[in-house]
């Protein structure tokens, strides 16, 4: 039975220069007891559709046509009826559990407030109802946690509270907008299980908005694929993921890193010429010709620890947090070493110590058999700065917006080679841009004119400018869409092969690490659990935590079973 029917929904944003159609004639139907996955990349309009259903479109946007029929009522007929439905018949779960709760009210107060807004219940009844709800979403000691403030809950627990808030007025439709994107993989699977369970038990109609195909594969019954405001394809999840009809869906599915096998390259469907970069990329001519010995240790990390003092006045170690605790591993020349762990596991801290942004509290880092953590002289350090470069997670903050692309890339070149002539400098910049597949005219532009993926390419070009031996990649693709991720990963693989780079690849995303790395180290709470070859790690993990991580990771392949 069709419960929610979205007919010909269009949403327009009146911008300064043009009207942006964020959603174009979208038709969706959702049944009771069913999860509809709404999937698409950033800017595809998936959240716009979700917000349009409850008429929560921000200015200057507006619903320009179409109707939303819930049960047998057109809820867009007048703006008052939707207020009655929002939070009552329709529950909402947002992405970030940090900001969707009011920090100065206890969880209980927020629940009671919501319940009493919509239902005619006394305070006592509302309280009982809230506690039952908290129990239902899996919060232990609900009676005592009822009086806690949001900051006393962990991220996953907070998202459970948000779900209980969404459920508190017995909604029949639940809209979850990226409910697990801000959460670690182990918590993600719990929350998804919870949503699945509630869907069945309460016979809810659920719209799950996400960019993650793995999440869709594991939870959604049907899936709708969106691209730039258009609904591309809609159907049974299994059918869409295994036999996609449209080109866009095909490319989306093929860009998802498989979890069960290692592939050499991602297939880019839209691009005809998905071959490797030709062998004679020009920057290679400038690369040091020195033959590098494979299988020799390039980086050795010995008993590395880092603690952060959160007390400003005393330097006592009582309050310090051990971000990295006695970690030792080595990276061989020419290999890709992966570091995986959940947030707070210390993986970025290790990266920052290797590139010498942080000094370790104890332990040493050897690069090419020289201990780089003990270097005092600036000119000594510069030799290593040149050889170790880093690519950052956030493509927006990693480029200085006030500089042109050519000045951004020129900075490392002129710093390490001040005598370079202007013509040579320009040629080198063009060669670098070409090696990351950007055109020459990109050089005269500012970073804000580029998309996230293109910015990440500029970042890579900047990192390559000093001809490094080690490239530290700190979650280089986690801020990018999956198809862009595939392109960047392909690029990194090609560059590594061509330039014989050693890569330290840091990520929380196990399938990505599997595609990229030769060996993997697993971190938990600052401690290294195990280091092993990629295939060994995925096929027969040693450590309990690794097994847990592998079990919980959303698998797009689960749909085949």
């Amino acid at each position: 039975m069709t419960f929610l029917k979205v007919n010909n929904l269009s949403v327009d944003y009146q911008m300064r220069k043009e009207i942006v159609r964020a959603a174009k004639n979208v038709n969706i139907e959702v049944n009771k007891g069913e999860i509809l996955g709404l999937v698409g990349e950033s800017g595809s309009g998936k959240s716009t559709v979700g917000n349009a259903i409850i008429n929560l479109i921000d200015e200057p946007g507006k619903v320009s046509s179409g109707s939303v029929i819930l049960g047998d009522l057109n809820i867009h007929e007048n703006s008052e009826s939707i207020v009655k439905y929002r939070g009552n018949k329709i529950g909402l779960i947002f992405q970030d559990p940090q900001t969707s709760l009011n920090p100065i009210l206890t969880v209980g107060e927020q629940l009671i407030e919501t319940i009493q807004t919509h239902l005619k219940l006394s305070k006592e009844e509302a309280k009982n109802k809230s506690i039952n709800l908290l129990k239902e979403v899996g919060i232990k000691d609900a009676e005592t946690r009822f009086d806690n403030y949001p900051h006393q809950f962990s991220g996953g627990m907070r998202q459970r509270v948000v779900i209980s808030l969404a459920l508190c007025c017995e909604p029949e439709l639940l809209i979850a907008d990226e409910p697990t994107t801000a959460l670690d993989v182990s918590i993600q699977s719990q929350i998804l299980e919870l949503i699945k369970k509630l869907t069945k038990e309460r016979n809810l109609a659920v719209i799950l908005i996400t960019h993650d195909m793995g999440v869709i594969a594991e939870t959604a019954d049907r899936v709708a694929v969106m691209k730039s405001g258009n609904l591309v394809e809609i159907g049974e999840t299994k059918k869409i993921l295994t036999k996609p009809q449209e080109n866009y869906t095909k490319s989306l599915v093929s860009s998802v890193p498989p979890t069960d096998k290692k592939i050499s390259r991602f297939v880019i469907v839209e691009k005809k010429n998905s071959d490797k970069i030709e062998n004679n990329i020009k920057i290679l001519n400038r690369w040091t010709k020195k033959k590098r010995i494979i299988n020799q240790d390039l980086v050795e990390i010995k008993n590395l620890s880092k603690s952060f003092d959160d007390n400003f006045f005393t330097e006592s170690s009582k309050n310090s947090v051990m971000a990295v605790n006695d970690v030792s591993f080595d990276i061989k020349e020419g290999e890709s070493f992966g570091l995986v762990g959940e947030s707070g596991s210390g993986k970025s801290t290790i990266a920052k110590m290797i590139v010498n942004l942080f000094k370790p509290t104890s332990g040493d880092i050897f690069f090419d058999n020289v201990c780089i953590t003990k270097i005092k002289q600036r000119f000594e350090l510069m030799k290593f700065r040149k050889q170790i470069q880093m690519i950052f997670q956030d493509p927006y903050s990693s480029l200085n917006g006030r500089l042109k692309v050519k000045d951004i890339i020129a900075e490392p070149i002129t710093l390490h080679n001040p005598s370079i002539s202007n013509i040579d400098l320009n040629n080198y910049i063009y060669d670098l841009l070409e090696s990351v597949e950007l055109t020459q005219n990109s050089a005269d532009r500012y970073p804000h004119e580029f998309s996230g993926g293109q910015r990440q390419r500029i970042s890579i070009a900047r990192a390559l400018a000093t001809q490094p031996r080690l490239l530290v990649c700190d979650e280089p693709t986690s801020a990018l869409d999956v198809s862009i991720q595939a392109q960047i990963l392909n690029l990194l693989k090609d560059l590594q092969e061509q330039l014989n780079l050693t890569i330290l690849f840091i990520s929380h995303d196990l399938p990505v690490v599997r595609q990229m790395c030769d060996r993997i180290g697993v971190l938990k709470d600052g401690k290294l659990c195990e280091v092993s070859n990629t295939e060994d790690l995925f096929l027969k993990p040693d450590h309990e935590y690794t097994k847990e991580l592998l079990r919980l990771m959303p698998k797009i392949e689960s749909i085949y079973n």
């Binding site: 010498n356 903050s397 917006g401």
Partner: protein, 312 residues
């Protein structure tokens, strides 16, 4: 290859395409206040070309013209639009000459405190530690002293140090220093806060990893990125500096009467207020109000436009 469209924009097209330009042409307040300011700036800096009188050339003055009321009153003369003062000087020319002094003092003082404040704030935010603590406590101390009091203090000390003959000559520099020294803390605070945000961004880390030195990171990378909020409070600070200059001159510790500023003119005219010659003090005062008001309105518009937090 990833194609970006081939058109590379020139500087003027960039400006025309920017949000600031569009917000500007949509805001009547911004257009009116900046037009007024441009006219005032132009008239006061090219005052010799505009006015037929030089109020500071004694040979051109005639005491016979003294206390002529504005031209639209019964006794007014067409050649003195806003009347004359007690020495027969044309009020309009005197105001424009005075406005130039006020603007020079205001701009110099604000640039002085901008350099001092941003320099200290930027380094404090960037290096942190004990240095930051000392600088920030210094701003706290500075903020507890009212700026007029501070300026009076500086003026008093300067009078003691500088010989009597030199005093008139040096007065303008003392004034610039006095106003500048009392306004730097707000620049230090704002630029420190902005630096703390910027220095943790990845582009700063990237430059560190490349090997760029701290000084270059501070001035090439961080400084341009913190200038927006600094320029906004700089604009509002300019109005305050001009008012401070006028206040001090009104109190008689500012620029000497031989090179009068707006404040000096108001003070001189104040003596004639009760004898009926209201125009001698009224016109410089109203001029000062228009000037400060326009700068403030422009500053408000800048704050609203450049502050992403206020954007909806």
């Amino acid at each position: 290859m990833i194609q970006v469209d081939n058109k590379t924009l020139g500087t003027w097209e960039r400006i025309k395409d920017s949000d600031i330009y569009h917000s500007f042409i949509k805001s009547p307040t911004a257009i009116v206040s900046s037009t007024i300011l441009l006219i005032i700036f132009f008239c006061s800096f090219f005052v010799e070309l505009i006015t037929p009188y030089n109020p500071f050339d004694p040979s051109s003055l005639s005491l016979m013209d003294a206390f002529t009321p504005p031209s639209w009153t019964e006794e007014g003369l067409a050649k003195f639009i806003l009347g004359t003062d007690g020495q027969g000087r044309d009020m309009l020319s005197t105001i424009l000459y005075g406005c130039r002094i006020s603007l020079i003092v205001g701009f110099s003082a604000i640039i002085f405190s901008l350099i001092l404040g941003v320099g200290l704030g930027l380094t404090a935010g960037f290096f942190g530690g004990k240095y930051e603590m000392i600088v920030m406590r210094l701003t706290d101390v500075q903020l507890t002293v009212p700026s007029i009091l501070m300026a009076l203090l500086v003026d008093g000390i300067a009078r003691g140090l500088i010989s009597r003959e030199m005093h008139d000559e040096m007065a303008i520099y003392v004034l610039i220093f006095a106003i500048g020294i009392s306004e730097w803390p707000q620049f230090a605070r704002v630029s420190r806060a902005a630096t703390l945000v910027e220095k943790n961004k990845d582009y700063v880390s990237a430059s560190t990893i490349i090997g760029v030195s701290n000084i270059i990171i501070m001035f090439k990378h961080i400084l341009p990125n913190i200038l927006r909020p600094v320029l906004v409070i700089g604009t509002i600070g300019l109005a305050l500096a001009i008012l401070a200059e006028s206040t001090l001159s009104f109190l008689g510790v500012g620029v000497p009467p031989t090179t009068p500023s707006l404040g000096t003119l108001i003070r001189l005219g104040n003596d004639f207020l009760f004898s009926g010659e209201w125009w001698i003090t009224f016109f410089p005062a109203i001029f000062l109000v228009i000037l400060a008001f326009s700068i403030n309105l422009l500053g408000d518009w800048m704050r609203d436009t450049l502050n992403p937090k206020l954007k909806k």
